[in-house]
Every structure is written in structure tokens, then in C-alpha cells.
């Protein structure tokens, strides 16, 4: 049995799962300290099944850390070492950052010798004295977090590792983020993602320690895992080092949960919450990754993020009956106080759904005298907005199955344009916690190969093997390894055949 918990902005959802069965689900308000909400949920589950169960693992998905980035609060000062000289000096670290964010994080940046060319040749040799000098400087300034980014490190990570070893020897207290472990090819975007990660390490360490303590107080001795943006999990120590991998785990868990509960591996998932709708696409059971850069808190990054489109449309979105518009304002979790059906005076999309007879919640008499034509028009507008998102995510004209999850799924009646079928699930309201509970271990590799040195088939085999090794190292059971993504992208404007290969494998957690 496993426990999955999703800490959302409004609710903390938890499920107890055995194989394919949801044994129990709990919904509690999210608390500002995160942990009380988690404890409340665990309490409920323990009460439901006291000592009758054997919990193998607890998986928690929380996007809480993104708030630190958005509010520019609790961020650690981080220094940056870029290994690049004499190349790549024109655009210094954080060159395209908003000023307030730069000021919230800024440590010093150091451009030093090292780095590689696209074909693995060294740009220059690492200068050990230089590294020692810089480390001592960082140590003296008492900066606790450091990013090491080397040119083409996603292809050749040796320089980053070498420098990390030197730094660790001189100043073991410094927390190091290696850029190649965070982002893809694209020096600035990878560096940006790594800096965000480094700035969150202290806060994440504190948060995870608090969660661990809370769980152990409840007498659960099951190991704690944290959900990642790509739908796989990481152990709590790893998560404390790579917090940036948690900040989009919410939408991903909803999609993974939808896949699991519906049994579908390829579908579009529409998650309608209280204030917003997220739409993503499942490919082989996992969310499709965003292929272009992703903007986080005003900063361009390129790490593994689900390709999710969001609009301000939810069960609490306000409706303007004269202008016939929806949102973007929402009353969110005050829905049960302020909306018409719950005795308030604000017209929301939920009131429209009740007026249209889609759902019987609250007091339907309160919406009896709404103008029928208006109700109809708003209903169509809601559908149009969702259909438009579905269409933007698709890659072909073919219809695809659409799975509705989240509390706001009541807003949608009947079929949707572009959908081959619309699937509603029994546990749609806790799909995200289910998604957390079922997470597997993942391993991903992205590499550039020149086909003059290796043939295509061998290059693919090599990349897949490397991903498999990663999975086993991260605690995956070798017998359950499954290849979920394999992509080759030829590079343009290069003579000879140069290709980029991406491989991703997953495996069940090896339970010791």
C-alpha cells in the first residue's frame, strides 16, 4: 500500500492506494506551514485503517516552493561558476533577469576556464588554482549555495564534476547545484534553472525535514518520496538538493492520476480547479514535455516541465451576465460562502452549471430566475475556452480522448469538440494525489552524437543504457524498467550527420 499526498494551493488531498484500488481519500485545507495539512490528512488515513495496513511508501507532491520564487522570499544567495573561458563571456549569468529577482538572489559570478565544444573537445583546460582561489573567496563571503555550469555540460559533464570535487574538498558546507543535472542544452536557460534551484536549496531542506518529522511522529516508518515535474519521484534527500524539480509537480500528478484511473496512456487531461484550468497531454502515460523555454517567475529556463496550458477558468470564476464574460477574478475557496447557490451574491460558473441542471449542489432555487439565454451562452463560452486549449495542445487534426479531472469538471456537459470521447472518473477530485501515489523512478538522457563516430542504432542503444543506469542508481527495480520516450532530432546547419537523442525510462521503486 502507498500513500499519495498532493499539497495544492487550496486543498491538501491524500489517498491510500492498494494496487489499482483507491481505499481511502481525504481532503483537507492546505495550511501555511504545509505540514499541518499533511498531518491532518495522514491522521484521517491512520484512523480509517489503524495498524491494518503496511505502507510501503509515502509520496508527496507539492508546488509550494514556487511561491518563494514568485514572492522573491526565503531565497538563498547563490554564487555562479561558469566554465567557459575564453568563450561565452559576452552574456554574463542572469543577463536577462528582472532586476528584483537578480537582487533577491545575487551572489558573485565567476567566469573560469573549462567547458567543451559540441563534439566533446575541450574549450580550455580547467585551471585548478583558479578554482581554489574562487572557492576561498566564496567561502570567505559565507555564501552557502553554488551553481557550476560548464559549456555543453549536457554532453560532457566531466568539468562540472571535477570542479565540484575541488570545491567540496575546500568547503564541504557549500551546497552545489550542477547545471547539467538540471537543464538541457541552452546555456543561459540551463544556468537560470540551476540558479533557481540553488536559491531554493535551503528552504527545501527545511521544508522536507519538517515533513519527515511530521510523518515519523505519526508512526509511519515508510520512506518519504517527493514527486517531480516529469511524473517520476525522487527520495527526500535528492529532493532537498533538487527542489526546482518539484515546482510543477501538481499538474503532472493530476495527469498521471488521470492516466492511471482511466487506464489510458494517450489522452488529453483537462483539470478544472477553483480558479484555473490546466490542460496537458499524455503521451505513453506521461505528460508531454514543453519543447521550448519555460518562463518561471519571469525567468527563462529549459528544464523538464510538462507542456501545460492554463487559463483563469474554474468553479469559482466570476461571471458577468451583461458583458457575457468569465473571470479572470475568482472567489476560489470562498465558493461555498459567496456564490449564489450557497447563499452569497456572486454569480460564478458553478451557479451557471447548477442553473443549467448539470449538477445539484447548494440551493438550486437561488439560480432559478437567471436568464436562460445568458446561462446557455456562458455554458457555451466555457466549452469554447476548454476546446480551444485542447486544440492548441494537439499535434494532429485527429480526435483524442479527453479525461476530465478536478472539482470543476461539473462545468462541462456532454462532448467536447476535438474529443473522441469525454471520460469522467470516479475519483476525479483526487486524481493528483493518486498521481503522486503511483509515481515511478525515472531516468532521462539527452545527448548529441556525431554519426561519423558511431552509427545511429548504437547511439540510441548507448543513450537508453545510460538512462537505465540512472534509473537503477536512483532506486528503480531493474526488472521493471520500461522505455517511455525515445526521440532523435537531427541538428540543422551542420555538415555530416549530427543527431540529438533523448531517452527516458521508468521503473517501479525497489522496496528494500
Amino acid at each position: 500500500m502507498r500513500i499519495g499526498i498532493d499539497v495544492g494551493g487550496t486543498n491538501t488531498d491524500a489517498v491510500l492506494i492498494n494496487n489499482r484500488e483507491v481505499l481511502y481519500k481525504a481532503k483537507n485545507l492546505t495550511t501555511p506551514d504545509i505540514t499541518s495539512g499533511i498531518i491532518n490528512s495522514i491522521d484521517e488515513i491512520v484512523e480509517f485503517a489503524p495498524k491494518r495496513f503496511n505502507v510501503e511508501s509515502v509520496v508527496i507532491g507539492t508546488t509550494h516552493l514556487i511561491n518563494s520564487l514568485l514572492e522573491r522570499k526565503n531565497l538563498s544567495t547563490s554564487s555562479i561558476i561558469r566554465l567557459c573561458l575564453p568563450s561565452t563571456t559576452l552574456l554574463p549569468p542572469m543577463v536577462d533577469w528582472p532586476m528584483d529577482m537578480k537582487e533577491a538572489i545575487l551572489g558573485d559570478s565567476y567566469l573560469l576556464h573549462g567547458g567543451n565544444e559540441f563534439d566533446g573537445r575541450e574549450i580550455s583546460k580547467i585551471n585548478k588554482d583558479e578554482i581554489v582561489r574562487v572557492t576561498e573567496d566564496i567561502k570567505m563571503k559565507k555564501i552557502s549555495s553554488l551553481v557550476i555550469n560548464s559549456v555543453f555540460s549536457p554532453i560532457a559533464s566531466g568539468h562540472e564534476r571535477f570542479v565540484a570535487n575541488i570545491v567540496a574538498e575546500i568547503a564541504p558546507e557549500i551546497k552545489i547545484t550542477l547545471a547539467h543535472e538540471i537543464g538541457k542544452i541552452g546555456l543561459l536557460e540551463r544556468e537560470n534553472a540551476a540558479i533557481l534551484n540553488a536559491s531554493l536549496v535551503a528552504k527545501a531542506t527545511e521544508m522536507i525535514a519538517a515533513i519527515k518529522k511530521a510523518i515519523s511522529i505519526k508512526g509511519l516508518d515508510a520512506p518519504l518520496f517527493i514527486s517531480q515535474n516529469d511524473g517520476t519521484l525522487m527520495d527526500s534527500e535528492y529532493a532537498a538538493r533538487y527542489p526546482v524539480f518539484t515546482i510543477s509537480a501538481g499538474p503532472t500528478n493530476s495527469m498521471r492520476g488521470a492516466a492511471f484511473l482511466s487506464g489510458l496512456k494517450d489522452a488529453i487531461v483537462v483539470d478544472i480547479g477553483g480558479t484555473s484550468t490546466d490542460v496537458g497531454i499524455l503521451v505513453n502515460g506521461f505528460p508531454r514535455e514543453a519543447s521550448i523555454s519555460v518562463n518561471i517567475a519571469g525567468i527563462r529556463t529549459n528544464f523538464r516541465m510538462p507542456d501545460v496550458l492554463s487559463i483563469a477558468l474554474g468553479g469559482g470564476s466570476l461571471v458577468d451576465e451583461k458583458l457575457l464574460t468569465i473571470g479572470p477574478e475568482s472567489i476560489g475557496h470562498n465558493l461555498t460562502k459567496e456564490s449564489l447557490v450557497f447563499g452569497g451574491n456572486k454569480l460564478t460558473t458553478t451557479d451557471i452549471a447548477v442553473a443549467a441542471g448539470l449538477k445539484n449542489i447548494g440551493n438550486f432555487k437561488k439560480v432559478n430566475n437567471l436568464n436562460g439565454i445568458m446561462v446557455n451562452k456562458i455554458q457555451n463560452l466555457i466549452k469554447k475556452k476548454v476546446e480551444n486549449l485542447i486544440d492548441r495542445l494537439k499535434t494532429t487534426v485527429d480526435s483524442v480522448p479527453v479525461i476530465l479531472v478536478g472539482g470543476g469538471e461539473i462545468l462541462i456537459a456532454g462532448n467536447l469538440f476535438g474529443a473522441s470521447e469525454v471520460i469522467r472518473l470516479q475519483h476525479a477530485d483526487v486524481a493528483n494525489a493518486v498521481g503522486a501515489a503511483i509515481s515511478q523512478v525515472g531516468g532521462q538522457v539527452e545527448k548529441i552524437y556525431s554519426l561519423e563516430n558511431i552509427n545511429r542504432e548504437n547511439a540510441i542503444i548507448q543513450a537508453v543504457q545510460e538512462a537505465e543506469n540512472k534509473v537503477i542508481l536512483s532506486g528503480g527495480n531493474p526488472e521493471t524498467i520500461e522505455l517511455v520516450e525515445k526521440e532523435e532530432i537531427p541538428l540543422s546547419y551542420l555538415p555530416g550527420n549530427v543527431i540529438k537523442i533523448r531517452a527516458k525510462v521508468v521503473a517501479d521503486l525497489q522496496i528494500a
Binding site: 575564453p86 568563450s87 561565452t88 563571456t89 559576452l90 552574456l91 543577463v95 536577462d96 567547458g115 565544444e117 559540441f118 573537445r121 574549450i123 559549456v151 555543453f152 542544452i185 541552452g186 546555456l187 543561459l188 536557460e189 521550448i292 486544440d391 492548441r392 495542445l393 494537439k394 499535434t395 494532429t396 487534426v397 537531427p490 541538428l491 540543422s492 546547419y493 551542420l494 555538415p495 555530416g496 549530427v498 540529438k500
Partner: protein, 360 residues
């Protein structure tokens, strides 16, 4: 004369994206680099050709290589190294620089040597759009020699091509040196004098790209129809409006080839347009009839915002408008078509100009 500042860099990169006809690469890095140079060295002046004097010595600079490498090993001041190498080799001082290609990120490259050397940029270029290869320049078609050409890398290494039998040979040699240099490099050749610029360059294209970018940005701000505004700034045709319903893209010998199928919306409802591309958009067919073809410009822009969409960014579901602009006259002559006409890209039919075609 006008001055390139931070704000004009944003506009130029949008306008140059439109003139790139689907090619020219992602201008983001070029934009950041140009801004950084201006922050360090101050604004750069742009001179129209009438403001040049008979003694001016103008060097053309450009960037060559793989965009995928350029986002990782970000270019620095290679084009300045290349300029210096040509000056030293031929023992002169350049009084201005000029862009080789207005389409895409190469439009901003001259800002780098111009800002360091404190010399102006001439309001012109050697393509009037984007093309994939070095020999495809109006300069060479009308007699400017491509050699000696200097090619510089990010470490300050320079190679000179001192002799080549034709411009295509220069392209082949430069391309393989570039790979050796880590797959991104910059080149320079010249100097040209005012007469060479007058007789061979496509004029006023930097101003054109700035004006296009300005109008797109102000249309977005004021919620005006960007398509009409674009056509007011640069005369061309609104060829089609619709939604991308199919996309085929593959890389053959280092070049991206493919086609995109667009299904008509609003006044084009029921019609289809197919555009074939090879880095740049080459040929547009409406309901199987050719309506615009290379070297005329076929530009795909976002229907709502008017922002250009390069061939690598095309995706199913985008709402796009296809604009056609007549090619600069340099390309529609017999010599021009030999280098960049339909046949140069492997089609077996002749060029016919855009504006004589009857559309819908």
C-alpha cells in the same frame, strides 16, 4: 541617420523575423548580445547610402553555423575579430559595416563590430530576406568578390580564405572551417565602396525591419489589426489566413525541409494552403495553385499578434496569416534567379512574380 538603442533592437528583431521568410534563426540570443554591446559601448548609428562618401570603406559581416550550438556556446565578438583581420590583411580602416542578411538574427550582427570600432552601420544588406547559404548574396551576384574572407572563432582564431573560384566554393570552405571552430563562427569580407553598395546591396532594409517591428509592437499594445499595419509599412499581399493542420519536417544534409498545411479561416474558409520550406519558406500553393514562390518572400505570422513564426517554431493548431512580399529586384533578374530562383532549390518550374498573380 538614426541611432540603434535598446528599444530599436527589439523592433529590428521582430521586423527581421518577418523578412526572414521562415528562416534566419531565433533572434533571441542576437538580441541579448546586441543589447549587451550597446550597454557597454553605447548606441550605434545607422547611415543611409546617401550619407556615405566616396572615401568610405564598408565591410560586410555575418555569422555562420548551427543555431543549436549558438544557444549553448553563445557567440561573443567574433565578428569584430573577423573585421579586424580583414583590416589588418589589407591594411585599411573600415569606416562602416553592413549586414549580410537582414532576415533573422544576422540583422543584428553588425552592431557588435560597429559598437567596438565606433563606426556606423549602413542601412542595407546582401539579401533583403534570409537565405541558407553564404553564396546567396546580392553582393556576389553583382560582382563584389567574396575573397579575401576572414573567419573568426570565439577564441580569436582567424582563418583567411584568400582565393576561391566561385562564391559557392567559399561557402563550402567556410562551412567546414566553422565546424572545426566549434560550429559557430563569424566572417567578414570587403571593403566595398559607395558605388558597390549602390549597385549590389538591397537598400534601407534596417529601417524597414525597424519600422515593421515598431508597427507590430504598437499594434499589440493598441489592439489594432497587425496584419493591415504590416502591409501599410511594406507593400505586399495577404495571401491566406487559417489554422495549421498538418506539418512535416525533417533534416536532410543539415537543412530542415518540410511542408506545412494550413486550413482556411474567415474569408478563406474552405480553402487550403500548402507551404514548402527548406529552412526558408520557398513556395506557397493555394488549392494546389502556386501563388507565391522564391525568391519572393513568404512570411508566416501569428494572426493575432503579427509576430513572425520561423519554420522550426511552426506547430499544429497555430492561427496564422501568410504574407507575400515581392523580392528585391536584385533577385528577379536572370543572374539573381540562377542563384536563388526555384530551380536553385530543386524545383523544375520558372519563377513568376507575386504581384502579377490573380488571387481569389
Amino acid at each position: 541617420m538614426w541611432t540603434i538603442e535598446n528599444d530599436s533592437i527589439e523592433s529590428i528583431s521582430i521586423g527581421a523575423g518577418i523578412l526572414g521568410s521562415g528562416g534566419g534563426g531565433n533572434p533571441y540570443m542576437g538580441m541579448l548580445r546586441a543589447k549587451e554591446m550597446i550597454r557597454k559601448y553605447g548606441p550605434v548609428n545607422v547611415l543611409s547610402v546617401n550619407e556615405l562618401s566616396i572615401s568610405d570603406k564598408i565591410v560586410c559581416v555575418g555569422s555562420i553555423g548551427a543555431p543549436t550550438v549558438g544557444i549553448e556556446k553563445i557567440q561573443g565578438i567574433e565578428s569584430y575579430y573577423a573585421l579586424r583581420a580583414i583590416e589588418k590583411l589589407l591594411n585599411f580602416s573600415a569606416t562602416a559595416v553592413v549586414s549580410n542578411e537582414i532576415g533573422g538574427s544576422n540583422s543584428l550582427e553588425p552592431i557588435i563590430p560597429a559598437s567596438i570600432s565606433k563606426i556606423p552601420i549602413v542601412d542595407a544588406d546582401g539579401m533583403g530576406r534570409a537565405f541558407p547559404e553564404l553564396q546567396m548574396k546580392t553582393f556576389f551576384v553583382y560582382g563584389v568578390p567574396p575573397v579575401p574572407m576572414s573567419i573568426a572563432d570565439d577564441k580569436g582564431n582567424v582563418m583567411i580564405i584568400s582565393q576561391a573560384n566561385d562564391p559557392k566554393t567559399v561557402e563550402d570552405m567556410a562551412r567546414s572551417i566553422t565546424v572545426q571552430m566549434g560550429s559557430v563562427a563569424c566572417y567578414a569580407f570587403g571593403p566595398m565602396d559607395i558605388n558597390q553598395i549602390l549597385n549590389t546591396a538591397v537598400l534601407n532594409t534596417l529601417t524597414l525591419s525597424k519600422n515593421l517591428g515598431d508597427i507590430v509592437r504598437s499594434s499589440i499594445k493598441t489592439n489594432n489589426n497587425p496584419i493591415e499595419s504590416i502591409l501599410k509599412v511594406h507593400s505586399g499581399k495577404n495571401l491566406f489566413e487559417g489554422k495549421i493542420v498538418d506539418l512535416e519536417r525533417k533534416t536532410i544534409q543539415g537543412f530542415t525541409r518540410g511542408k506545412v498545411l494550413i486550413e482556411g479561416l474567415s474569408e478563406y474558409s474552405g480553402d487550403r494552403m500548402e507551404i514548402e520550406f527548406q529552412n526558408e519558406n520557398l513556395i506557397a500553393k493555394m488549392n494546389n495553385t502556386v501563388v507565391c514562390l522564391v525568391p519572393d518572400l513568404i512570411c508566416i505570422v501569428d494572426s493575432e499578434k503579427g509576430e513572425p513564426i520561423t519554420t522550426e517554431l511552426l506547430r499544429y493548431g497555430f492561427r496564422v496569416t501568410v504574407l507575400g512580399f515581392p523580392a528585391p529586384k536584385h533577385w528577379t533578374s536572370e543572374q539573381g534567379l540562377k542563384v536563388v530562383g526555384p530551380k536553385a532549390f530543386g524545383y523544375d518550374f520558372d519563377y513568376s512574380p507575386l504581384l502579377f498573380k490573380e488571387l481569389k
